[in-house]
Symmetry: C2
Subunit: 407 residues, 2 copies
């Protein structure tokens, strides 16, 4: 099975999560499922764009620095003043930015063009009608569309929702993901290692990868072969609180493959050999009440690359986001070998220079090699029919979860 075929099966199976109403302030990064229309005009009332004086523009006809016009000041209108004031021609109000323009005023003259008087002000310039007045509804009218369904809410969108009076919004929630690591050789970091044992790095890594793509870790469990609760029971238990389950290990050709064995009967989860390196064995299917289960290989590098290749697009789909992974064309500065007949997902270091984007392999490419993975910031996707990547070749790369674009 090709990478594309497996990915198609995954994204063809998972569904966007049911919408939920959440407080707008808690909606950062979530995708709207319903348009947001404004409950108010924006601005909600004619207001001043400047600190200055609300006037009748005609009263200032002919005002110059040499011949200022003097006006009595009826009082102050600070921002937040909820009284409705009225201006009579031949006078003015001192007014602050954002404060409501009094009835009868048709312009604001900025304080810098005056002597800043408090009871009586000298104005040194004419103003046109409408100067420094923001009209009610000039930005957005009540009922107008502020944001459409499908927008992922970022700080500036949250500001727009709140300004429009939307205290809560309908969004797809962040997927909750249960992470289960398997393998009797795994012990938690911090515990002493006996001969044959290694630290469980997949658990913390996959939990971090879940968080890095905006999802939530619903649970993080290790299941050993001799644990009281069987893997199938653990999966059943965590499925109740999870939108997806990710397991690592136990799916290859060996004699002790607990994940494969747990789902051997029944066709809920299918195990395939995918033409990729690393990450050949892959399991995927629906368990419990239709919860997608991703059975990833146990080697850390395979596990992360598989997560990035299949789980990230699925989680994006569940969150209502565009599945498309952003990819780059980059020029190879140091070549490497790639297995014929399989897509290689090579760990590379992506850098940027005046000439564009460059990649080089980040170290040894073995699926158990953490050194090379730790030095990588991206994955280069090398087609199955390529067996040597040469200096100067252009390759497609995408960033590892959480990585920033190199500056």
């Amino acid at each position: 099975m090709s990478v594309e075929q497996h990915l198609s099966r995954v994204v063809g199976t998972v569904r966007p999560l049911d919408p939920l109403r959440v407080a707008t302030i808690d909606a950062l990064g979530l995708v709207l499922t319903a348009p947001v229309r404004s409950a108010v005009d924006l601005p909600g009332f004619d207001n001043s764009a400047m600190d200055g004086y609300a006037v009748v523009a005609a009263d200032l006809a002919g005002a110059t620095p040499d011949a200022p016009v003097a006006l009595p000041v009826l009082g102050d209108i600070p921002a937040g003043d909820t009284e409705r004031h009225t201006l009579t021609a031949g006078s003015c109000w001192r007014i602050m930015t954002g404060a409501p323009v009094p009835e009868g005023a048709d312009a604001v003259v900025q304080v810098e063009l005056t002597d800043a008087g408090v009871q009586r002000v000298q104005v040194r310039a004419e103003v046109a009608v409408g100067t420094a007045v923001r009209r009610a509804g000039e930005d957005v009218r009540k009922g107008d569309l502020v944001l459409d369904a499908g927008v992922r809410l970022l700080p500036h969108h949250i500001a727009a929702c709140v300004a429009a009076g939307a205290a809560d919004v309908e969004v797809r929630p962040a997927p909750r993901v249960a992470v289960i690591t398997t393998g009797d050789e795994l012990v938690p970091v911090g515990a002493p290692l006996r001969h044959g044992q290694i630290h469980d790095s997949n658990g913390p890594m996959l939990a971090a990868a879940v968080r890095a793509c905006g999802a939530v870790v619903a649970s993080l469990v290790h299941v050993g072969d001799r644990d009281d609760e069987s893997l199938a029971d653990v999966v059943r238990r965590v499925a109740g609180d999870a939108d997806a389950i990710v397991t690592s290990g136990g799916i290859s050709a060996g004699a002790y493959e607990p994940v494969k064995e747990a789902f051997a009967s029944g066709d809920a989860v299918r195990f395939d050999s995918v033409a990729m390196q690393p990450g050949k064995p892959q399991g995927f299917g629906l368990v419990g009440d239709g919860v997608p289960l991703f059975a990833l290989p146990g080697n850390p590098v395979s596990s992360l690359v598989s997560f990035e290749t299949f789980v990230v697009p699925a989680l994006r789909c569940m969150a209502g986001r565009d599945q498309a992974r952003v990819s780059w064309r980059a020029s190879v500065t140091r070549g490497w070998r790639s297995p014929a007949g399989r897509v290689q997902l090579a760990r590379v270091l992506l850098t940027r220079s005046a000439g564009g984007w460059q990649v080089e392999p980040s170290g040894a490419q073995g699926s158990h090699i953490l050194g090379g993975l730790a030095a990588a910031n991206a994955i280069a996707v090398i087609a199955a029919d390529v067996d040597v990547v040469r200096e100067g070749d252009e390759v497609d790369v995408h960033l590892l979860p959480g990585e920033e674009i190199p500056s």
Copy 2:
């Protein structure tokens, strides 16, 4: 004062936060302040790279599909087997991926080259010494540098730390930021609006912006002019639990400027006029026990652009990250006007096509205009000496907080 001057003052004043030891699993996105060296060899012991049989390679000399070599199987070595087994020449152990290779074995023959026998196995091929054996320490040696200080910990780094036995790591913590909005006209979203009042959109927006750049919201408060606790008292109170304070509003030329007034005496906080649009008035200084306070203007657009321009680089510096904002050259598809003598931070829509990156203005550019901000995904930085941006011009852009690169 120019944008560069104000930014230099900001990043010249703030300091990276003191390091903290945190559990590795909780360190996602944080920057190491000390190198991580491996507490163990990786792999920790010679182990099998395949499911198969641990053998003495010489025993299989001459084995072919037509003339397989039969070997008695001494038993199974699953991954996680903590016993130390020994292989005697002329026999083999069935062994699983990751399991320790028994003393005396010098190769593993993969199960696919055998009849998969349990008590006696037929092997159909020769293997070279060392085949499918991962040697102890071949990836990383005990004491080797795994990650250097300065690395921002992402999922693959967390895996490397855990594998290397680092249960906790020394990092710069995520900055804790207190957000204070000011202005008597502001009421929380959800509450009814009286004449002259608007919803406090800056609070939720700035809180989201803090989160979007990996920092933590320590508190979120609105202070009105008639509140019992004065702004200065609120600042003093929140400074105790915050690494930075961001205020919005109350810093222009009007008669009611609570933030400016609170810090008018003393030179802890300086208020400047910065040659930028939007965002001209800016306050910055150290309060309390040396906590940086950013006094941003109150218009939502000015507030967000100021946050992006001055606060984000400061928070990155505090978190030990590279301050450099990633910027792009993009081609203008529809021009706009820019104020002479001031840097314009224009809200634009950045898109990507086969030909490269394009930008167009995202709507009206007034500093109170949320419609145009909501439609933007990036900010274009237009130099002070430019007054017209024309179709076809190349401009520098950077993404708004939380925005993804367009795919």
